[in-house]
Amino acid sequence: MPGMELVLFEEDYTSINEILATLVRETNSKFALLVDRSGQLISSQGDTENMDSLSFASLSAGNYAATSELAKILGQEEFSVLFHQGTNESIHLSVVAKRVILVVVFDNKTTLGLVRLRVKKAVEELSGIFNRIFQKVAERGAEIPSFLGDTFSSVAESEIDNLFKD
């Protein structure tokens, strides 16, 4: 639902991270990211220490969005998988539950075939989790903790005044 926030709880987040970690391990990939289609980084596993994950997430989403529009021009709903082959490293992108992008970066320590195989399994598992999350958010009566009350707003405003100044 447009405008509704994406809310991740501990149990779901733990499951998501386990699936990503297993994917990275089983494919011998460098890292895997989960990015929502607006460009926000949801989670990452693997070797991302020396990498600008936020920019990577934003660009991945932009990339996916642009190619989705190309697909529509061709009369298709979207391309479910994108693959960019590099000299040393390659990127595999696939969509999860229509709203999240799974990005896997790998080098010649593994093969595209293995990545595709394991990604397919990971996408199925992640789709189940995210569909549950979206269901929970859609049903606002499912008592999502409303911690962001007046205190959060006033404290955040104070920080905004403090940091964003000439």
Partner: protein
């Protein structure tokens, strides 16, 4: 669409700078990036043409710090303003939490500002949003130029809902942080109201 992660205690919000070509959207982000300290800002990404016109988007992540135990971030984006990049503009609006509509105050850009505003409303609708439900502000830029339309005229034409507006000279930074503070606060207030329901 804000991302709230209760597990890792993170909140991310997306703010988009929209407006016609060369109105000052990228200039806003460049100024913000130049002035903020390293611990608040991330790397700025600009997908631009050889002549420095925005091709797809600019992206600048900002970290507000920890608020009530939650690491709070704003992700700033600009859209490409040139008319023929409409398909790209629509995509950048996906998941938007707040908009700064940058107006080129020059008299000879008057009609283009109106077209850009209508274009924004149309693209929001295509993404399933309604402008009335999204926090937004106006930034009347280039107020230093001699051939500017009066703010009252711009307000009367564009700002029918009387949302907050700011005069600016983005090249020198005047009004840039005023606008950023205002839209950030509106986004936070909107988010607080949504999660308090």
């Amino acid at each position: 669409m804000s991302l709230i992660n209760y597990s890792s205690r993170e909140i991310n919000c997306k703010i988009v700078y929209y407006g016609c070509g060369l109105c000052g959207k990228t200039t806003n982000l460049l100024y913000i990036h130049e002035k903020l300290p390293h611990d608040i800002k991330g790397k700025m990404v600009s997908l631009a043409t050889d002549t420095d016109r925005t091709l797809f988007f600019d992206f600048l992540p900002l970290e507000l710090g920890t608020v009530n135990g939650f690491k709070t971030r704003f992700h700033l984006y600009t859209v490409p303003g040139q008319v023929h990049y409409d398909a790209s503009r629509k995509l950048i609006l996906k998941g938007v939490d707040g908009i700064v509509f940058v107006v080129d105050s020059q008299r000879n850009r008057f009609d283009e500002n109106i077209e850009s505003f209508e274009n924004m409303k149309k693209n929001l609708q295509l993404q399933g949003y309604r402008l009335e439900n999204i926090p937004y502000i106006f930034q009347y830029n280039k107020r230093d130029l001699p051939n500017c339309s009066p703010v009252e005229q711009l307000e009367g034409t564009l700002n029918k809902n009387q949302v907050p507006c700011f005069e600016s000279i983005a090249t020198t930074g005047i009004g840039v942080f005023d606008s950023l503070r205002a839209i950030s606060k509106l986004v936070i207030a909107h988010l607080s109201r949504q999660t308090a329901r």
